[in-house]
């Protein structure tokens, strides 16, 4: 009964924070740690599950299999999947706006292998 009476809210998920493209984003320094923490391991995005986001494979799989589109960063499959709230990726729950903004900024800055 406590659960039933806990609360009835009518909130909406927060929009991502304002993106600052002046801050350079590094693939190896900013994006790969994010993948390592939340994306591979436990049978997720490693060998056998596209895209393979492990070190040495992530950049090629993302850029060559169509997961990033530098001409339409907001429409990139990688970014769209990561900001989805209906069926989030990672499945445990959507990442923070700051983290998804790093991915968007990296794509907008040319999706370099830096």
């Amino acid at each position: 009964m406590l659960v039933l009476l806990a609360a009835c809210e009518k909130d909406y998920f927060a929009p991502p924070p304002v993106l600052d493209l002046a801050i350079p984003i590094s693939f190896s320094g900013d994006i790969m740690p994010l993948f390592k923490a939340d994306c591979y391991g436990s049978g997720c995005h490693d060998q056998g599950v596209a895209p393979n986001l492990t070190t040495g494979s992530a950049y090629d799989e993302l850029t060559m299999l169509g997961y990033v589109d530098t001409s339409n960063a907001e429409g990139s499959k990688l970014y769209v999947r990561m900001i989805a709230t209906v069926s989030p990726m990672p499945p445990k729950g959507k990442l923070s706006g700051e983290e998804t903004n790093k991915v968007l900024a990296w794509i907008k800055q040319g999706a370099q292998n830096n």
Binding site: V3, L4, A6, A7, C8, E9, K10, D11, Y12, F13, A14, P15, C44, H45, G48, V49, A50, T85, V86, S87, P88, M89, P91, K92, G93, K94, L95, S96, G97, E98, E99
Partner: protein, 298 residues
């Protein structure tokens, strides 16, 4: 003398006839009997049936959903990230079942309750089985992903709720059908969906073609979405899709196995009604299975 004997004979015959009529009238009186095994267990794919656990019966369920069948790289969804729920349920009273479970996606933990209000019977009584089902789930996701439009985190935004009234009828030993009316509420949603409350219906039919095997069809259809003032929404850009499932069930005593093709990757009823964007009829299909087992402790 002859008249006396004839009178005795007539009286004897009439008495026998009278008692015989009473016995035959009694034998034609319909006997009320409860209908059993409308379905083999309380869950069919992502949906509840009208069945509840027997008193002191423990039920265990494994529910597994693979990825969308859209490319061969991940073996048509088999290697894709999967969703899974493990659940236990117990018949605390004859018609009352309490259960809890854990779901991988969004790390949800749910408490469920189910009460059979009416039992279908023959020879009198209710023509249908009527059951109420409720569920409340809490998400264990990181707070950073649950912040609201004011950039603040509320514990209540981890919660979702589901309620359903279900009516079923066993038309023959082979054919059962049920219809449900449900209500779902989510405390926090994506702004694109514009609604926190949805009301829908579930249609479920099962045909048992052999003593241990059956096929089933389920269709979950949203009837109305409500805005924040609980008025029906007229938005036609609803990104959410209805869930359709077709499947097969094998049942052996206290164990059932269901294999099915559906659309929803979520498992909890409120997830299926609120977070499904896959369209079964646009070939966005997933494979799923349920395994259930019951133990009696009477």
């Amino acid at each position: 003398m002859i008249k006396r004997i004839a009178g005795i004979i007539l009286l004897t015959v009439s008495l026998q006839t009278a008692f015989g009529q009473d016995e035959s009238e009694e034998s034609t009186m319909p006997t009320k009997s409860l209908v059993t095994s409308t379905f083999e267990n309380s869950v069919m794919a992502n949906n509840q049936t009208t069945m509840v656990n027997a008193k002191k019966e423990l039920g265990f369920i494994i529910q597994h959903r693979f990825g969308v069948i859209d490319n061969q790289y991940d073996l048509y969804g088999i290697y894709a990230p999967a969703n899974i729920r493990l659940g236990l349920s117990f018949g605390v009273l004859k018609n009352l079942t309490i259960g809890f479970g854990a779901t991988k996606n969004k790390m949800q933990y749910d408490l469920e309750w189910k009460y059979k209000i009416l039992a279908e019977s023959r020879g009198g009584g209710s023509p249908v089985t009527l059951t109420y089902y409720g569920d409340a789930a809490i998400s264990g996701s990181e707070k950073t992903g649950l912040k609201n439009q004011d950039n603040e985190f509320k514990k209540a935004n981890r919660l979702t709720y589901y309620h359903e009234f279900i009516a079923s009828r066993k038309f023959t030993n082979k054919l059962s059908f049920q219809v449900g009316l449900n209500y779902s509420h989510r405390n926090i949603v994506d702004s694109a969906t514009l609604t926190h409350d949805r009301m829908g219906t579930t249609l479920l039919g099962r045909y048992k073609f052999s003593p241990q095997s059956s096929v089933f069809l389920v269709y979950n259809m949203n009837l109305v979405s409500f805005d924040d003032k609980f008025s029906p929404l007229t938005n036609n850009n609803d990104p959410l899709k209805n869930d359709f499932t077709i499947g097969y069930e094998a049942s052996t005593g206290g164990h059932q196995f269901q294999l099915f093709f559906g659309a929803a990757e979520g498992i909890l009823n409120q997830e299926v009604r609120f977070n499904n964007t896959n369209d079964f009829f646009d070939k966005q299909i997933i494979v799923g299975f349920n395994i259930t087992r019951q133990w009696g402790f009477n």
